[in-house]
């Protein structure tokens, strides 16, 4: 049996999601026996320009060069997997979209700012067709393994579309709202086993917003606990700013 050819590509990101792969430990050796990794710049010097069975894309699309590159990758890949928040929802890079692009370039790079090409941050599916999504900042490895199995079997994978609160409740955490703290769990997609809340922090919404958030319920909760809406919206825009691009496209 020939092993499917898989490559990792990184765009604008912190490369933490790729690192999660190395963090699998010795289990990685078993995974590498099932697939043939033909390109993985962070870890390998090998390069490959043939047809791919699966392209795993990390990072968001933020420059004209990124756009060109991602289109070429799509053209030679049977399946594309968007890997991590940067790729699936634009992630933290999306915060840039809240600023005027020239202003933010000047702020960071001073008078030579024009040399730093940039454009509005977009998630991968906002530029090319994506077949699989693995959300999270960083990705949750058990979910990645599940998705990899689906890809190998040629089956689709449905991203969980219920609130993170469900997993949080199953883990028997005391709700952050009961501690008087705002948490994005009610509007965020589950699938990470309420990773942050289990560790005493709040959910920051890194897996993206559920398709149908219980807006009224969330509003009631905020009112009850006296947490200002603009604070929550600001927090939401930490990961989910790029969703406005999808909303505008629908309109």
């Amino acid at each position: 049996m020939t092993r499917p050819k898989v490559a990792f590509f990184d765009f604008t990101c912190c490369e933490g999601c790729q690192l999660q792969v190395a963090n699998m430990g010795e289990a990685l050796v078993d995974v590498l026996n099932l697939i043939e990794v033909v390109e993985f710049r962070e870890a390998m010097s090998e390069k490959y320009d043939g047809e791919l069975d699966l392209a795993i894309i990390e990072g968001s699309i933020t420059t004209p060069h990124d756009v060109e590159r991602i289109k070429k990758i799509r053209a030679r890949s049977k399946a594309v997997l968007a890997y991590g928040s940067c790729a699936t929802i634009g992630g933290v890079n999306g915060m840039k979209n809240a600023f005027d692009l020239n202003d933010i370039r000047k702020y960071v790079y001073g008078k030579d700012y024009e040399k730093f090409d940039t454009q509005e941050t977009r998630a991968v599916h906002q530029v090319i067709k994506v077949d699989y999504f693995v959300n999270g900042c960083p990705v949750y490895i058990p979910e990645f393994v599940t998705v990899l199995k689906a890809v190998l079997a040629g089956l689709p994978y449905a991203v969980p579309d219920h609130a993170a609160c469900l997993e949080c409740k199953l883990n028997e955490n005391v709700c952050m709202y009961d501690k008087g703290i705002g948490c994005l769990g009610p509007v965020t997609k589950a699938g990470c086993n309420s990773w942050c809340i289990n560790n005493g922090n709040i959910c920051y919404g890194c897996r993206g917003m559920v398709t149908n958030p219980a807006v009224n319920g969330a509003r009631d909760v905020l009112t009850k606990y006296n947490i200002p809406m603009d604070m929550i919206v600001n927090k939401m825009n930490m990961y989910n700013k790029c969703r406005e691009i999808d909303q505008n496209a629908k309109r």
Binding site: A22, E42, M44, C137, I227
Partner: protein, 440 residues
Amino acid sequence: MRNVKVNVEYLTRVEGHGNIVVNVKDGKLETCELRIVESPRFFEGMLRGRSIFEAQHITSRICGICACGHSLASIQAAEDAIGFTPSLQTIKLRKFLLHMENLDSHVLHIYLLVAPDLLGVKSFVPLIGSHEQVVRRALRMKKTCNDICDILVGRHVHPISSIVGGFTKLPKEKDIDAMLDHLYKMRADMNETVALAATLKFPQFERDTEYVGLVSDDAEYPMLSGDIGSTDGVRLKKVDYKKATNEFIVPHSSAKHSKLGRGSFMVGALARFNLNSAKLHPKAKEIAAAIGLKPKCTNPYLNTAAQLVESVHSLEDSISILEDLKRTGVNYHEEIIVGLNEKGTIPVKAGNGVGAVEVPRGILYHNYEVDDKGIIVNANCIIPTGQNLNNIEQDMKKLVPEILDRTDEEITLALEMLVRAYDPCISCSAHFLDVKFVNR
């Protein structure tokens, strides 16, 4: 006369995107550059308007490899800005976290990024066939650090419980035992690593430069606190970090370069070793002596050897911290719930704060100016790789003429290995002031 053209596009086995461009015409070096092609990410710009209590969550996303280091520098800057002093227990746990990150990153660099060069293969993947036990050991050691970070802060890539003010979750007694157990077990693998390193042949090359790192008058090897010092005798307070970094303009470049007393300087494991080797754990000193690493070492390829020595130090010092904590017990009353500090648990005032932390690749600075609500109005982050770029170029300029008798492939490999020895982390181009644009 010899002509050489080296054009390495997308330098591999480094973190982030960089190109090496060298042009030798008639035996004369015309161009010799490390060009950074990473897409800019604008973190400093994006931090404006964000609460000081969420800064570390955002800034750890500058880099997946040094996520803990970025969050620690960020927390330090934030606490400095609002005038908050962390508890001794918090500081102890932060030191431990920093050790785990350095250890993790050094192991990754030594085994997966550098060893393939020294063993003559293109990546660690073929090593799975030829040196399976070595690869397994590397992944096992890496996973140990990772598992410990999972216990301590929820995960290594973007720690969860370590925040401004302290920790949202403190390790239980059984957690401390579990972490200690991991570390004790790691000693055997560390011994094997040292044995392997002793067999590796590092390229010979010397260039004396200024070495910069944290220094202090305490007995401890400084990683999380101290002043900024150099082997040329510079000593500055961390608030004066700008004097130690990007203050100088080079005529041939549109962008600023880092230098201190000389044309360029080096930060990272070798710089720290050159400055502070006397303060290393006795076991680490032993290893340094065994592999013949002595200060002041001026061969940049030996940065990898210094990383090995530091790995032993981090492992042993971590064990001491945990054993100590086991003896004294953990004060769970210090567990904090902050969120966006909705409840005003931590008093906030306007101010300007600097964090300076030794991360795997050298000193990392974060600087925030906050208003009286704790909202960031200005942010500046200076990463170690940015400080090293100028030094890497100076090394390349000295190295190329020395190896002109080799083939193009050998020259290219020597240069790639040189850049990789610095363990550059180009993806954290939060603030890459020293990018050079030639032929544009």
